[in-house]
């Protein structure tokens, strides 16, 4: 897998969003740049992130600008990298750890969920680290270069999770993540890296969902790459007014914006790329039931990947990924409910 992988536009919507401004990948890089520049306690570590600039070139130019102390290559040791970031954070560094592909976070799982996330509760020690990296399918990465791991980390108390859908959010949320006093898992969808563009603003607070499109008949709640799938589906649902809510962060979750939309539209689809079984859609469905049951004119419907690994071949991956067609199908059924 690599940045040059032939990318096939399985995610529909994404191309629609291309246009002027900088790419999402450049948004990530700019956030790292600005944080390195404005805060001397910010450090980046990762495999091949230095002079090479990383597998996706996200960190290109940063070591040249900020030196090999601030932007540092590591051995192939995900647990060692995350552990080192945890220790450094206790002395006041703010370390951003790159996973070359987020799939490899499985090798640093214990340090993140048991050490970083639980310190503050256990003995009052905050662990302000960011673990970031490319996630997601649509580029023929197969099972180990395509994962969206958010569901595996959401149950962990003490860990925040951000998943931007736009260049502005990638920039704004990453700046917030780096200055956040608690550990953050920051997910960058590799399919969006060079496909979405936008103008960068300032830091964006966690826990504030963005309503990407207002609507009155149906609400699609999603985040990350599938925000673009949802927008394309919404556009295709001629004659129906669809609202698209982009959660931006899964922890903290902006319940107010979600519930407000549910109370107005009464019909809800939760859409995500990661597998269906105990995916984030389950938590949204459960919370909506608990807090807005009486407002529902139909079941909260989930659209997500099937419960199998991401297949490699483009023909298989396209069939596996939750796309515009699945959303339209679910939407029509729900609208007719």
């Amino acid at each position: 897998m690599s940045s040059s992988t032939t990318e096939k536009p399985h995610l529909g919507g994404a191309e629609v969003a291309t246009g002027r401004g900088v790419t999402l990948l450049e948004g990530v890089r700019q956030a790292l740049w600005d944080e390195l520049e404005s805060d001397p306690s910010v450090y980046l570590i990762g495999q091949d992130i230095g002079h090479f600039g990383g597998a996706f070139k996200v960190t290109a130019g940063l070591q040249e600008q900020f030196g090999d102390h601030r932007v540092k290559d590591t051995p192939i040791s995900e647990s060692g990298m995350i552990g080192a970031a945890i220790g450094a954070s206790m002395l006041g560094l703010k370390v951003v750890v790159e996973m070359q592909f987020i799939d490899f976070i499985a090798c640093g799982y214990n340090q993140l969920v048991n050490f970083a996330a639980l310190c503050r509760y256990r003995w009052g020690q905050g662990v302000p680290i960011v673990v970031r990296g490319p996630c997601g399918a649509g580029v023929s990465g197969s099972a180990f270069h395509s994962q969206c791991p958010e569901a595996h980390f959401m149950p962990t108390p003490g860990l925040k999770i951000a998943f931007p859908a736009t260049a502005e959010d990638a920039y704004g949320l990453l700046r917030t993540a780096i200055q956040d006093p608690d550990p953050v898992l920051f997910l960058e969808h590799k399919f969006l890296y060079r496909r979405v563009r936008g103008d960068l603003g300032g830091p964006i607070p966690f826990g504030q969902a963005a309503v990407r499109q207002r609507g009155t008949d149906l609400t699609i709640i999603t985040y990350g790459a599938t925000v673009h799938t949802a927008l394309e589906a919404a556009a295709a649902l001629e004659g129906h007014s669809v609202e698209v809510v982009d959660l931006r962060t899964l922890v903290p979750l902006d319940e107010d914006t979600v519930l407000d939309s549910v109370r107005r539209n009464n019909k809800v689809i939760v859409l995500h790329e990661t597998q269906r079984n105990l995916g984030p859609g389950a938590e949204l469905s459960a919370r909506i039931a608990e807090k807005a049951f009486e407002y529902l004119d139909g079941p909260v419907v989930r659209v997500a990947a099937p419960d199998s690994p991401t297949p490699y071949s483009p023909t298989l991956e396209k069939a596996w990924l939750p796309g515009v067609e699945q959303v339209l199908h679910a939407a029509r059924e729900l609208l007719a409910y």
Partner: protein
């Protein structure tokens, strides 16, 4: 195995990869293409000493091992092109395929993970009195992983018939070995486990074969695992998209002189005609196989679903 046989396998290994480069340039390869250019002697030399009952877990730089274990060039071509007829039917990529019947285990991407798994294979083989040896490979960079440590230690404590081949090819993606470890001889890794080890010239297939023979004998005889370091050089980028600009030109030049195929050729003075004959035979085979793979269909979308559980 006779030098001429080794030569044929090395030529096959190289020509298959060169043909893959053509497919890659035609954008027929889906995803990245990982070469073993300059390292073929390691795959061929080590796999050449394995018995039918042995089990091997090749990594991305071990295309040659698949070929020696009975896979056809078309299998590698179809894997890289994500074809329906590939060993995984298009479900997984490049060298992520295997078949226990062939004594080949498919890797996962996470480096180091194969070491504990192959320790387990060596253990099961011993329990089943199969007299087998398990063999797997690890790059210099891969030895920095926790799984490498846990697998090597377990194999040493249990005295398992496991041979781990370390491919010290100077780089891990863009990272030179000295940024990966503070030792200069990769074999020193074995000292933490009290494991038998040796370091040899990985660009001389005869040397590799002899060292592998000893390592496999040692493991099979019940003495315990063996870590065999083969010093070599990755002569291409990490994958074909990577121009490896970070590698000093001199390094490439210096190692080019040690090309394993050229060195074997040189040692076969006087047999130029035979070698040329092998080259032609292999070239034809590869072309025929490539055509079959190229013309074969992509998988049916329905194959994306199912077979998650038995």
């Amino acid at each position: 195995m006779k030098p001429l046989e080794l030569y044929r396998w090395m030529v096959l290994n190289r020509m298959v990869e060169e043909r893959l480069v053509n497919f890659y340039r035609q954008s027929k390869v889906v995803g990245g293409l990982y070469r073993s250019l300059g390292q073929e002697a390691i795959s061929i030399g080590t796999a050449s000493v394995l018995e039918p009952q042995d089990v091997v877990a090749p990594l991305i730089r071990n295309a040659g091992v698949f070929l020696m274990r009975g896979y056809r060039p078309r299998d590698l071509f179809m894997q890289y092109m994500a074809k329906a007829g590939s060993p995984t039917g298009g479900r997984d990529c490049n060298t992520h395929f295997g078949d226990v019947q062939k004594g080949v285990i498919a890797p996962i991407s996470m480096l180091g993970a194969m070491i504990p798994v192959c320790a387990g294979i060596a253990w099961a083989g011993r329990e089943q009195k199969k007299n087998l040896v398990a063999m797997t490979y690890i790059g210099d960079g891969g030895t920095s992983t926790g799984d490498f440590h846990e697998g090597m230690n377990l194999a040493a404590v249990w005295k398992l018939p496991l041979v781990v081949v370390g491919e010290a090819n100077q780089y891990a993606y863009s990272t030179p070995t000295h940024s990966q470890m503070a030792i200069t001889d990769l074999s020193d890794r074995a000292k933490a486990y009290g494991m038998a080890h040796a370091t040899v010239d990985g660009n001389d297939v005869l040397v590799v074969q002899e060292a592998a023979r000893k390592a496999v004998e040692y493991a099979r005889s019940g003495k315990g695992p063996f870590f065999l370091t083969c010093e070599t050089m990755r002569m291409r980028g990490h994958a074909e998209h990577d121009d490896a600009r970070y590698v000093p030109a001199e390094l490439f030049e210096q190692w080019k002189l040690k090309d394993p195929l050229e060195r074997l050729k040189a040692s076969l003075k006087g047999q130029e005609a035979v070698l040329a004959g092998i080259d032609d035979e292999v070239r034809e085979l590869v072309e025929a196989e490539a055509r079959i793979a190229d013309e074969s269909p992509m998988p049916d979308p329905d194959f994306a679903f199912g077979r998650v559980f038995a």
